[in-house]
Amino acid sequence: MSPPPKAKDGGTERNEWNPWRNLKHIFFNPKKKLRSFRNQPLEKDIKPTVSLPPPDIILGGLVRGSIYGLVALGYTMVYGILGMINFAHGEIFMIGMFTCVFALGLLSTLLSTTTLVNLLLATLVAMIFSAAFGYANERIAYRRLRKAHILAPLTSAIGLSIILQNFVFLTVSKDNISFPRVYSDQLNKVAFTLGGVHFNYLQFTILGTSLVLMAALFFFIHRTRLGIAMRGTAQDQLMASLVGIPVNKIIALTFVLGSSLAAVAGVMVSMYQSVAGWNSGYIWGLKAFTAAVLGGIGNIPGAVLGGLIIGLTEDITCYYFGSNWRNSVVFLILMIVLIIRPRGLLGERVADKV
């Protein structure tokens, strides 16, 4: 029975193996940090350790976020009613982009004017086209699968999205096509300058339009008869059909509404980033879908909130850590939120079906 080994002299206990101290040494060693700073002396110039992000970062994030929210509405409505993820929704958004660019070209030659009225008309055309596409998708790929296993419509949606992407890629353009500058330049004027930072009319237009459309949708769903029918269908399709709600038509209406909102978002995005590409639907769609889940899928204010949070997070991450990390942070936040609060930020508690 030998006594437990002691430190050779009382003062050097620090040199003993101590996991916590070692961890601290690895992670919080101030010397190490200084050394890494010395290797890259310029890091300090770019990002001061504590500073608020400049206003253009915040505004940019809000604009992105509002577009995410607008696209997310389509995902969230379809999920609310059918319980399925409409993976082709991003492609509908992309169709909206391209239709608008074509309609603008047609309108400016037909009317030989380049006023903003043309832009409104083109947006309308894009909405109609996208709505038609959304309706056709529902008719072709989803309606027959409504009663099948949940993954069947998911797979057919993935197939559809591959078809739509490649259709545009092969028939329209393999490259990004430019949004007509005549129109975007009219909105891309500096509204005011704050501390050397330019604010565009376009950014405020996008923010305003999205918020108005979201509010309108909220009003539509909660205050009109059709909206009530929609909510009824979402709650229980069988009961809804028993009280005389035309369930099929209501579902089609959901797709049409979501698609036309996505088209508006597509028009605004193509104006904002000045080009439209056949693969833009995928990346915006994925983020918008994330937004819908973050806010609580099936919940309309949730989609808006999720969109804004994701947009802001992306741009603020980009400011502090660089754009390398922006997708990581977004998905990390999504994971954490879902693990802590599985129904999303504003989602209602849904009882598991037995």
Partner: protein, 409 residues
């Protein structure tokens, strides 16, 4: 149902035979002048048809395996002592021959077909692994490619620090570490309902992809490239690719066998019970949490092993391996083949991997139109939608799935 399937196959075959004579006549496209001329080209026709035949053979073999559920009568007292051998002998009589044929393909297939065979084997393993969570247990996982990439990166990194590390040394570690990762990811996810689980795994995969794309250790977005010669010790007399093919095939057989046994074991029955009705399964005494975690872990481990095999084959890895598209393709293989059906998901993997490759490589199709291969993804998407509309339960639906309660509307 079966007669209808048979009609499909016979109709398809008939179509192939009727159109066959025309396929000998291929069109010659002159790039410079833009003229099109008809040429009699036997070689391309033969090649086209032999490709088609291989595809049909794969379909037929997997269907035959699926529909033959031979059960022996073990009640005789002498036979009863041999009961433990049941899994080995309760197979169609031609299974051993099939295994020999598939393995010996390494000797008579050409370079390209061996490459296709390797990738096909890897995709089949992936589909089988994902089938455990989605098909058996009913847990919707959308980020399966992350486990695949995890295994691949693990092996690639180990190669850099331990040069000449052989696959048989690395394989158990990769399986265990992959399973551990699956366990860790599964742990917080068990509170989530089906679709949310899908999203969390999707988020995990995306974060993982971004992480390996940003770290210098993993070669950032450019990826890691290794030397195939140092990783695979070629069997004497065979090339590295032939050896790789044999390794992949053996892994496929072992995993297939293990999963079949698991599926029929109490664990597999517990998984199916959880899928059908979680509450009822719980009240029958099944440890739901443990079973779900087990499904997660085994599935992730198999994915990681598939990643290691991918490195052996391609000796190159980049973050695109963990991309969402990759997960979606694997998922589509499982759904298309038939959720929960072992040979079904292998069939799905065969179709979804071979169709685009076939459309890309067929010289005959290129003769018809040099730009035809650009349309292959369009055709691929159309096939996916059409198959889903025709058979929403998958090509070879699981027997047990027949009794599944339909989702109420």
């Amino acid at each position: 149902m079966f007669t209808r399937l048979r009609n499909y196959i016979l109709g398809f075959l008939g179509l192939a035979f009727i159109t066959f004579p025309f396929l000998w006549l291929s069109l010659k496209y002159n790039y410079a002048t833009g003229n099109v001329a008809t040429v009699l080209n036997w070689a391309h026709g033969v090649k086209f048809f032999s490709n088609l035949t291989v595809a049909f053979a794969i379909v037929a073999i997997l269907m035959a395996l699926h529909y033959s559920n031979k059960k022996w009568n073990w009640s005789h007292p002498i036979l009863l002592t041999l009961r433990p051998l049941a899994p080995l002998v309760e197979q169609p009589w031609w299974t051993p021959f099939l295994m020999v044929v598939v393995l010996s393909a390494a000797f008579y297939l050409d370079h390209k077909s061996l490459g296709l065979g390797c990738m096909l084997g890897i995709y089949m393993i992936l589909a089988l692994g994902l089938n455990i969570t989605i098909g058996f247990t009913g847990l919707l996982v959308l980020g399966y490619a992350a486990f695949y990439a995890f295994g691949a990166y693990l092996f690639a990194l180990a190669q850099q620090y331990i040069p000449g590390l052989q696959w048989w040394v690395a394989f158990p570690f990769i399986f265990v570490l992959g399973s551990a990762l699956g366990w860790v990811i599964g742990l917080p996810c068990l509170r989530l309902r089906g679709d949310y689980l899908a999203i969390v795994t999707l988020g995990f995969a995306e974060s993982f992809k971004e992480l390996i794309g940003n770290l210098n250790l993993t070669g950032s977005d450019i990826g890691l490239s290794l030397s195939a010669r140092s990783m695979v010790k070629a069997i004497p007399g065979l090339t590295v690719l032939q050896t790789t093919y044999i390794i992949v095939t053996v892994f496929l057989f072992v995993i297939l066998f293990a999963i079949r046994r698991l599926y029929l074991s109490p664990i597999g029955r517990a998984w199916v019970a959880i899928r059908e009705d979680e509450v009822a399964a719980n009240s029958m005494g099944i440890d739901v949490v443990r079973m779900k975690l087990l499904a997660f872990a085994i599935s992730a481990g198999i994915g990681a092993v598939a990643g290691m095999l991918f490195i052996l084959y391609s000796s190159y890895i980049n973050p695109a391996t963990a991309a969402f598209e990759q997960s979606v393709i694997i998922l589509a293989m499982v759904v298309l083949g038939g959720l929960g059906s072992i040979y079904g998901v292998m069939l799905g993997a065969a179709l979804l991997y071979l169709i685009p490759e076939f459309l890309r490589d067929s010289q005959l199709i290129q003769d018809f139109s040099p730009n035809f291969s650009d349309y292959r993804l369009l055709i691929f998407g159309a096939i996916m939608v059409a198959m889903m509309l025709l058979r929403p339960q998958g090509l070879l639906g699981s027997h047990r799935h027949k009794h599944e309660i339909k989702r109420d509307t």
